[in-house]
Symmetry: D2
Subunit: 346 residues, 4 copies
C-alpha cells in the first residue's frame, strides 16, 4: 500500500524489454542519431498530429522544463507560473540556471491553476521594451497540476490568448500529461498545440518508464538552439537509445494512455471509497492520479498501523490533517481495496 509517489514505482515490462533489446542488437549511432530516437520523434508527430514537431528525449523532468524554458526566455526574461508550480516551488533554481537568470513571477489561482484573468492583468503592465523590467517571455502551466487538477482545452486557450497577445511563449509542464489527457479524453493535439501550447515537457517517468521525458516543440523554430543548450547542460547522451527505447515502447500500442487510465481509475476508486467516510474531505477535485484529502485521526492511525504509505500535505485550516495519495500505472486494485477496507473499519 505505497501511495507516496508515482516516482517510486518500477517500470512496465514492455519498456524494460525494449531497453534490453536496444542494447543487445549491435552498435548504434551515438548522440541521438540512432533509429530509436528518430522513431520516437515520428511517433510523437503522429500522436500529436503535427508533422513538423521536434522532440528531444531527456532524462529528468527538471531538465525538460528548464531546457524548454531556456528556449523561450532570454536571460532578462520574465516567466509566469502558479506559485505551486514545480518549477517555482521546487527545482532549486533550475529555470534560472538554464535561462541564465530569467525571473519567475507567480500568478495565483484556484486548485493549482493559473488564473487567466490575473495573468492577463500581469501581462498588461507597461514593461515591454523598458530596460528596467524583466521582459515577459513565457508562461508555464502544469498539466496535471500540482493539485491533481486538469486544465481543459478551453482553460488553456484562455491563458494562451494573453500569451499570444503579448508575444510570449506557452510552456506546459506535462510531467503527468498522460493522466491529464486520459481524464479529458480529447485528442493530444487538442490539449496542447491546438490550445496554444508552444512547447511541452512530455512526461513518462511517472507513468511506467524507467526514467525518460521528452521536450516536444510544436513550434520548431523555438528548438533552434536546443542541441547546444542540452549538450552544455550534460543532457546529450552518447547512448541516447537508453532514453529513446523507453519512449518508443511507451508510445507504441497506446501503452502510455493505458498506463495513465489505470492510474486515474485507481485514484477514482480510492476517492469513491474515502469520500463515503465521515470526517474526510477533498482539498481539490481529483481529476488525475493524485488525491489530496483530509483524514480523521482514527483513519490515519489505522492506516499507518497497517503499513500504508503516503505523505502529509499542508492544510490551511488549523487542526485539520491532510495527506497526499498518488496512484500509478501499476497500482494494484487489491491494495486500493485493502486500504479502503482499513479506513472504513477505523
Amino acid at each position: 500500500m505505497n501511495f507516496r509517489s508515482d516516482n517510486e514505482v518500477g517500470a512496465h515490462p514492455a519498456v524494460i524489454a525494449a531497453v534490453g533489446r536496444a542494447f543487445t542488437s549491435g552498435s548504434a549511432f551515438s548522440y541521438g542519431a540512432d533509429e530509436w530516437t528518430q522513431r520516437v520523434e515520428r511517433r510523437l508527430r503522429e500522436v500529436f498530429d503535427k508533422p513538423d514537431l521536434v522532440a528531444f528525449p531527456v532524462v529528468t523532468g527538471t531538465a525538460a522544463n528548464s531546457l524548454a524554458l531556456a528556449c523561450c526566455s532570454p536571460p532578462w526574461g520574465a516567466i509566469y507560473c502558479h506559485p505551486m508550480a514545480h518549477i517555482a516551488a521546487e527545482e532549486t533554481g533550475a529555470p534560472e540556471f538554464f535561462t541564465a537568470g530569467a525571473r519567475l513571477f507567480r500568478i495565483d489561482g484556484a486548485a493549482g491553476k493559473v488564473d487567466a484573468v490575473k495573468l492577463a492583468a500581469a501581462l498588461a503592465q507597461p514593461v515591454y521594451g523598458v530596460p528596467h523590467f524583466a521582459q515577459p517571455a513565457a508562461v508555464s502551466i502544469t498539466q496535471a497540476t500540482e493539485c491533481g487538477t486538469v486544465y481543459g482545452p478551453e482553460e488553456i486557450a484562455a491563458i494562451a490568448t494573453s500569451v499570444r497577445r503579448h508575444g510570449l511563449k506557452l510552456h506546459m509542464d506535462g510531467a503527468r500529461f498522460a493522466n491529464a489527457l486520459a481524464y479529458v479524453g480529447c485528442a493530444p493535439a487538442e490539449l496542447s498545440w491546438k490550445a496554444g501550447v508552444d512547447v511541452l515537457s512530455f512526461g513518462a517517468t511517472k507513468n511506467g518508464v524507467l526514467a525518460a521525458e521528452a521536450v516536444v516543440f510544436f513550434n520548431p523554430e523555438l528548438a533552434r538552439d536546443f542541441a547546444y543548450r542540452s549538450k552544455r547542460g550534460g543532457h546529450l547522451l552518447s547512448k541516447m537509445r537508453l532514453l529513446s527505447a523507453q519512449l518508443d515502447a511507451y508510445l507504441a500500442d497506446g501503452l502510455w494512455l493505458d498506463n495513465a487510465r489505470h492510474a486515474n481509475a485507481m485514484a477514482r476508486r480510492l476517492v469513491a471509497g474515502l469520500t463515503t467516510l465521515s470526517g474526510t474531505a477533498l482539498l481539490y477535485p481529483v481529476d488525475a492520479n493524485e488525491i489530496f484529502v483530509v483524514l480523521p485521526a482514527r483513519v490515519q492511525d489505522a492506516l499507518q498501523e497497517a503499513g500504508a504509505r503516503y505523505h502529509p500535505w499542508p492544510s490551511d485550516r488549523p487542526g485539520e490533517r491532510a495527506y497526499r495519495l498518488v496512484t500509478a500505472f501499476d497500482t494494484d486494485p487489491a491494495d486500493v481495496d485493502r486500504f479502503l477496507s482499513i479506513a472504513e473499519s477505523a
Copy 2:
C-alpha cells in the same frame, strides 16, 4: 568491423539484467535514497580503498566533468587542462556553464598529457588574490587521454605537486579510467587519490553499461554542494536506480575491469598486426583502447570497401592520412583478425 567509437556499442548482459531486476522488484525510494545508489557508493569505497569517499551517479560524462569542476572552482576560477581535453575541445562550454563562468587555460604536452613543467610555470604566475586575474582553482587531466595514452601514478603525482602547492584541486576525467587502470595494473587508489586526485569522473558508458557515470569525490568536503548543483542541472533522477543498478552490476565481480582488459587486448591485437604493414605508423603509443594510426591509401581503400568503419583523424604531416580505431568491451577478436587480414592483403 565497427571501430568508430566505444560510444556506439551496446551493453553487457549482466548490466541489462540488473536494470531489469531493479525496475521489476517493486517500489524504491526516489532521488537516490534507494538501495542500488547506496550500494554503488559502498562498492566504490571498497574499490578505491577509501571509506569516506562520496559518489553520485550521473547520466553523461559531460555532466560528471562539469559538476565535478563546479565543485572545484568559483565563477572567477581558472581551470587548467590539455588543449585536446574533452572539456576544452568539446563539451560546448559545459564547464563554463556549470561553474558560472570559470575560464579554461590550456597547457600543452606530448601525447595528450599535460606537461607538468609547463603547468608548474603557469601556476607560479603572481595572480593569486589579484582581482584582475581568474584565480587558479583546478587542474583537469584525462585518463586515458584523448590520444589513448595513460598517465602513470608518478606522472599524476608530478602534476599534483603543483596543484597542492598552490591550493588548487585536481580533477580526473576518467571516461576511460577502467582502460587506464587495466593498462597500468595498479590498485585503483594508486591511480587516483593516492596520486593526488581530488575528484574523479568515473566512466562506465564507454565500457559496457547503457549510460552511466559516477562523480567520485575522494575529498568529501568538496561534495558539500553537489546535490544542489546536480538538481538545478537536471541531473537528480527521481528514479536514480536506473543509473545505480547499472553501476552496481558494473562494479560487481570485477566486470568493469574485465571489460576494459578485453578492450585493451583487442587494441593491442590490432596494433600488433597493423604495425607489421609497410606505410603504417602510430601517432601515439597505444596504452588503452584507442589507436591513432597512419594508413597507406591501399589499406584504407581495401578496408573501406570491406565495410570497416572508423573515423579519420587529423595528421600534422601533409599528404599523410591518419585514422582513429576504438575497441570496446565487446569487440569480437574475429572482427579484429578479419580487419587485419584485409589490411595485410591490400
Copy 3:
C-alpha cells in the same frame, strides 16, 4: 517644479568640486588603491562606529544591490524581499545575474515593508538541506521603502531575528538610507548593523552626488570575494577616485545628512499643504522624501498646466488617481510653495 525623481537632479557643489580636485592633483594609484577610496572606508567606519567594516564604491544602486546579494547567496539560494522591492520589481534580473541564478521569493507587508510574521513563516518551511528547494540565503529590505516609509530599528530587529535563527544574511537596499536615517534620528549603527544588517547598499546618487554608491559590509567575512565579483561585473574602476572623491565629500562635514534632512523637510512641507486640500489622500505615511498622494482632477489639471512635473502612481481604488512626488537635496522651498499655491487655488 520638478518632483519626478531624485534621480533627475544635479549634484552638490562641494561634491563637484571634490571630483575636480581629485582629477587635477596629479597621478593616483589605480583600481581603488588611491587615497580617496581609502578615506571613504575610514569615514564609513567612523560614521557607522564599526572599525572593521569593509566598503567598496560602485557606480549604480543596481550594482550595489546585486553584488551585495551575490556575496550573501549561492546560485541555488533563495532571497526574500517585498514584492515592491526594487530588486524584485525592477532591476531586470540583476540579482539573478550576479548570483548566477538565485531565486526571489516575495513576502508581502503593509506600506512597502516586509511583514516580519510572514517572513518568519516562510523561513520556517522545512527546506534546509533538501536539494529540491532553493536554499534560504538572504533577506533584503529597502530603507526607505519604495512607499517612502521607514523601518525603525526595532522593525529591522524583528526581521533580523528570523534571519539569524535560520543562518541567513540581511541585506539593506539603502538607496535612500540617508533620508531614512534623517527621519529616525538615531545613530547610523542603530539603523544598520546593531539592528542586524549584514550588508548595506549605501546610496548617495539620489542625495546629492553625481553617481556613486557604496557597498558596506558590516560583516567583513562576507566581502571576501567581492573584488572578483566586482571586477568580472565591470565595476572595478581603474580611476576609482571618480566615485571615491564624491563619497568622500558626501560624507565630510555631515553633508549627506544635511542633504537628506532638507529633502525630507521639503516633503513634509508639501504634505502639510496638500493634506489640507479636499479630495487629497496619502497612500502611505510620508516618512522620507517620497509622497504618494491622491489628487483630485481639478488640482492635477491646474498643476499640469502650470508645468509641475511628477509621475502617476497606480491606485487600488477605481476612479482614484494617485501620484508620486519626490523631493531632493536641492528642492527649492519656493518651488514647493508655488506648487501648493497652485494646488490650493485649483
Copy 4:
C-alpha cells in the same frame, strides 16, 4: 616621472569642467534620456561617418568589452582573441560572465596581433552546427594592442575576411583606439567599420577623461538587447550624464585626438632617446603610447634612484630585464627629458 600607466593620470580640465556644468545646470532626464547622452551619440556618428551607429556610455573598459561581446556571442559561442588580449589574460572571466559562458580560444601572433592565417585555420574547422563544439561567434582584437602595436586597416580587413566568411562578428577593444588612430592617421571609419569592425569598445579613460568608455555598434542590429544586458549588469546609470558629459567634451573640438597625439609623441620622444643607449632593446615596435624596453641594470638602477616609476615586464630571454613605460595625454616633456638625461648619464 610616473610612466606606470595611463590609468593613473588625472583628467583634462575641459572634461572636468563639462562634468561640473552638467551637474549644476538643473535637472535632466534619467537613464540616458538626457541631452549629453544623445549628443555623444550624434558626435560619434559624425566622427565615424556612420549615421546609423548606436552608442552607449559605460564606466569601465571591462564593461564595454564584456557587454559588446555578449551582444555578439550566445552562451555556447566561441570567442577568438590573442593570448595577451586583456579580455583573455585579465578581466577575471568577465566575458564568460556577461555571455553566460562563452569560451575563449587564443590565436597567437607576433607583437600582440592575432595572426590572420592562424585565425583563418581555426575558423575553418568543421564545428559549425555540431552541438559538441562551442560555436564560433566573435573575434576580438585590441587596438592598440597590449604590446603597444597598431593594426593597420588592411590588417584588420584580413582578419575581417575570415570573420565574414564564417558569419562571426568582429569586436575591437579600443581602450587605446585614439592612440592607434593618431598613429595611423586615417579616418576613424577606415580603422573601424570600413575595415570590418562590428562593435568597438571606444576607450576614453586612459586618454584624458575621468572614467568613461562607449560601446559603439556599427551594426545597430547587434545592439538590440544591449539595454537589458547593461541594466542587469548594473551599468545603466540613472545620472548617465556623468559619463556622457565627459565623452561629450572628449569628442568636442578634437580633444580626444589631440590628447592621443601628445601621448604618442611623448612615447616617440622617449624611444628616440632610449634607443641611443647601449644595452637597450625594444621588445616591440612603439606605435602608440606604450614602450616595452630592455634596460641595462645601470640605467634601471639610476632611474629607480631618481624616483622614476614604471612596471617590470616579462622578458623571454634569461638574464634580460624588460620594462613597460606608458605615456599619457598629460605627460610633461620635461619629465621625458629628465628621464632620458638620467638614463644617459647612468
